[in-house]
């Protein structure tokens, strides 16, 4: 195989229909950019889940009278509940938060807002904060053990609250993957079409090549490489897009929630690694599309 020959043919091929090449590259880039966004969403979901799985608690809120009477969980109802929880193998640890402590945390959380001034310590329940040893079955076990017990008002699983956040992230993931799919179809059709046009404009060359006994490699490789180059350039553009997007708005968007530790921030390394996957994905998909097109539509 003569590489100078192939290089020359590919370059003339790409130059010959520049508008088509540009359209092909841009569509591929957008498609891959969306794939990258989706991958980052997945990565964030995973990271968030792992942060929360060891931090999330089940809160057992105590009734008004118990909360008011017992400030350090030394009276029978509270100690009884605490002991029950601590005896469960699914529970890692139990911590008591008194009305006063709850009030202080509340003030901290809503500092400067009018709700902070309205709240009284008496209106907040004391809670038993349960860290689970078993993340899957633990919450349900606590709920069952505490249901109908004297002194228990409600059981709140924090994961029900955080679930909404996960739903949102999963939504981002689904939307970007769907858009990526639609764009990918457009990109595939464009690549396929370009290969066909390219083969048509080069039919005289291909005719001569066949006549003088060039092998399939020589007749097809320029078209394949043309497609793969498109895929790779598209992936590079997509990567540049992702990295710029990180600095231009993802950082701002996540700044608030990330600083509170609700969502881990998306690091440059994450983006670079994701971009790294896009390269082979782009090259492979473009190459396969080109190959299939040649097989199906083009006599070379």
């Amino acid at each position: 195989m003569r590489s100078d020959f192939v290089t020359r043919e590919v370059l003339t091929g790409l130059r010959r229909n520049v508008t088509m090449t540009v359209a092909m590259v841009l569509t591929t880039a957008i498609s891959l950019g969306l794939v990258g966004t989706g991958l980052l969403a997945v990565r964030t979901i995973d990271a968030t889940e792992s942060i929360y799985s060891d931090r999330l608690e089940v809160q057992v809120a105590l009734t008004q009278d118990v909360s008011a009477a017992d400030h350090d969980c030394t009276q029978p109802i509270c100690t009884g509940l605490k002991a029950t929880l601590e005896n469960s193998p699914l529970v890692a640890s139990v911590r008591f938060e008194s009305q006063q402590q709850a009030y202080e945390r509340f003030q901290e959380l809503f500092a400067g807002q009018s709700i902070a001034e309205i709240a009284r310590p008496q209106s907040l329940p004391a809670t038993l904060r349960v860290k689970l040893a078993d993340q899957n079955a633990g919450a349900e076990a606590v709920r069952q053990a505490m249901a109908d017990q004297v002194g228990v008002r409600t059981v709140i699983d924090q994961r029900d609250v955080v679930g909404k956040l996960f739903d949102f992230l999963a939504g981002v993931r689904n939307v970007t993957f769907t858009l990526a799919l639609v764009q990918a179809v457009a990109a595939l059709l464009l690549i396929s079409n370009t290969v066909q046009v390219s083969a048509y404009t080069r039919r005289a060359e291909v005719g001569v090549m066949r006549l003088v006994g060039a092998t399939r490699w020589y007749t097809q490789l320029p078209f394949l490489i043309e497609a793969v180059v498109t895929g790779v350039v598209g992936a590079v553009l997509a990567s540049i897009g992702l990295i710029s997007a990180k600095f231009l708005f993802i950082d701002d968007l996540l700044a608030g929630i990330a600083q509170n530790g609700v969502i881990p921030p998306i690091g440059l390394l994450d983006v670079v690694q994701t971009s790294f996957y896009l390269l082979p994905i782009g090259a492979l998909i473009a190459g396969i599309t080109g190959y299939v097109t040649l097989r199906l539509y083009v006599k070379v």
Binding site: D4, V208, A214
Partner: protein, 229 residues
Amino acid sequence: MIRLERVTKMYKTSTRPALDRVSVSIDKGEFVFLIGPSGSGKSTFLRLLLREDVPTRGSIFVADLDVAKLPRRRVPRLRQRIGCVFQDFRLLPNKTVGANVAFALEVIGKSGPTIRKVVPEVLQLVGLEGKADRMPHELSGGEQQRVAIARAFVNRPLVLLADEPTGNLDPDISQDIMLLLERINRTGTTVLMATHDHSIVDSMRRRVVELDLGQVVRDESRGVYGVGR
């Protein structure tokens, strides 16, 4: 060198065969005219030798290769042993004369030094020395056909097939082309030329295979065009 055994070619869209039980044997180094009126099957004959198409029945051998049974991936090897020229030259209009000839070698993987050595030689052989940098449209029809012959011959094929190579040329230019084909034939290359140009066939006095409605109606060793008609 070339052998056809009871070769029949039926095109799907046609009711009569384009070739009908054709048996012909051509030795190495022969110069053979394939004649007959338009539609008699001459181009089909050449296309089958090149494996552009496969016969409906019968077998074809070119230089020990069983052409009809050749697996697809071996076809390039067959075609590298056969040079080919046509009435319409089929040069690449955006390449120079030299690049057109070099292209035929590049695409079968010949090295740069070989190409730079061989291309000027073959251009000299066909009488186009000094015209390597011209574009095809700057040349006369006869000169363009010489480029096509140079391209067909540059890889030193065993066989040169020519399908009405003088069909677009004036008679005296045609004579020059025939002299060139004779010269190529003298290097030991088997030449098979399809034509319906009477004067050329009559003046050359070479072997004549005549087709009519796809059948061989005459095979004469030093024939002329018109006899028996």
